[in-house]
Amino acid sequence: MSNNVIIRFSHATIAYQRRTALTDINLEIFQGEFVGIIGPNGSGKTTMLKSILGLIRPTHGSVQIFDCACHKLRCRHKAKIGYIPQKGQIDPNFPVTVMETVMMGRYSSIGLLRRPSNDDRELVKHALREVEMDGYADAPLGHLSGGQQQRVLIARALVQQPEVLLMDEPTTGIDTPTQHSIIRLISNLQKNLKLTVLLVTHDINMISPYVDRMALINTQLHAIGAPADVLNEKTLTAIYGKQVVVTTKGGGTYVIVGDYHYV
């Protein structure tokens, strides 16, 4: 693997029992890149992230990160990958505070049979400051808004001091202004901390101004490149199977997928 390639899919096919989720994926992600992964429901976006985490093993080909097969990742590798899964509904009564939630990100580094140290607590406070949630350390997680909870989950990933951040639909279920603030926060963190970020989303227009490249998938990799290069009606129609309109305004590219209006 070359020096600045951090994640590599080589002819990777990934299947769940009888269903193939991804077929023959060839993809290289470079260090310090912000890559958006776009595709319809069931297209294999989440599977892609899970294969990088080593939670699913390719049936053919390979998926590598840090020069290591993902399914053979050891703790020292996993500690360098911050993962923010799709945020399900957090039970508002679940007994966990913001501080405890973020501290969980340190557990893998702390190791078995050890307790968090003062240094770990300082890292947690620092991560909370990074996501502007330092005033909520003792608040129950379930009492926060969806956007605030998402910031806490980002802090949990940051406290691992990761090199790679994998995010699965981090703006789902959040109002539009908060979605923008979350994506801006991720973009700033990516630049300031020199992170490699892979972000799965349905919202093409939301992330296209921020990402370096976009991967368009629907069980196969249809296109990878800068948003202006890959966001075209032909490719998007092939992926979504619906009418797609691509327009440009103010230097930005905007996509409307399957938006029918009947008069």
Binding site: A79, N93, V96, I110, L113, Q160
Partner: protein, 270 residues
């Protein structure tokens, strides 16, 4: 009150009830938060089937209770983890299967054995020195494991997938937790009974869940409620000459309803 404390069987019952109340209520926190409530019921009946087999072939019933309950939680856990069957469905199958085995083993006994029914309904006042030793050893083992792996159990209870992704051995720890649930049920079997042990695991933790937003406090409240109910059950059953298991469960259920009323999460009186 002090006169009853001079009886050795009462002393043993009180020590046993403190340990069982503590272990059940601590394990109960994980059972409640991980939605494993039904597995407690299934496992306690599996343990009872083991006891009946022990009496049938005249061999230590507790050892069979351990084997039956461990096999149940491990198989149910495996089926669920592999995605072959949902947890409630597989527990339902084992619940009825092991009860059928228990009925079969009782039917095969040539003579009526009252001790078997003691395991079904519980009798803490009949705990022997040997029983107490087993309760003490297994109870300390379960509590030690909770202490040693507390932060990992906390993580997998809140978000198992994330824990696994960050390098925590979530699968292994889940099976360890199931094993601890099975052992907790086994040590409580004789005192509280297969039918009622489930309440001593679930109810204190469910009551504590109503009272706090902090997991540490939930453990603390659950332990206080569990020990209070367990020890209170012994006193009440002695004074009122009532079955000890049923008295304990009624006591802890009353505490649960009080916690509902005073819950800061509900706001009825808070």
């Amino acid at each position: 009150m002090f006169e009853m404390l001079s009886f050795e069987f009462i002393q043993r019952a009180l020590i046993a009830s403190v340990i069982i109340g503590l272990v059940c209520s601590i394990i109960g926190v994980f059972v409640i938060l991980r939605n494993l409530t039904f597995i407690g019921a299934g496992t306690s009946h599996a343990a009872f089937a083991g006891v009946t087999l022990g009496y049938l072939i005249n061999y230590n019933p507790l050892s069979f209770a351990i084997v039956f309950s461990l096999l149940t939680v491990w198989i149910v856990g495996y089926l669920n983890r592999k995605g072959y069957l949902k947890l409630d469905a597989s527990v339902g199958i084992f619940y009825s299967l092991t009860m059928a085995l228990a009925v079969l083993f009782i039917g095969l006994m040539k003579v009526y054995n009252a001790e078997v029914y003691g395991y079904l309904f519980g009798s803490i006042l009949s705990v022997t020195k040997g029983d107490l030793a087993i309760i003490l050893i297994l109870g300390l083992a379960v509590l030690s494991l909770v202490y040693l792996f507390f932060k990992e159990f906390h993580f997998i209870t809140f978000d198992e997938e994330m824990a696994q992704a960050s390098g925590i051995a979530a699968g292994w720890l889940s099976f360890l937790l199931l094993t601890m649930i099975a052992l907790t049920i086994v040590i409580s079997l004789k005192s509280v009974g297969a039918i009622l042990v489930f309440a001593l695991i679930v109810t204190p933790a469910a009551a504590a869940y109503q009272l706090t937003f902090s997991m540490i406090r939930m453990f603390l409240y659950s332990a206080v409620i569990g020990i209070t109910a367990s020890v209170g059950g012994v006193f009440l059953s002695y004074w009122l000459d009532l079955p000890s298991g049923a008295t304990t469960v009624l006591f802890v259920s009353a505490m649960f309803f009080l916690s509902l009323i005073f819950s800061p999460k509900r706001g009825y009186i808070s």
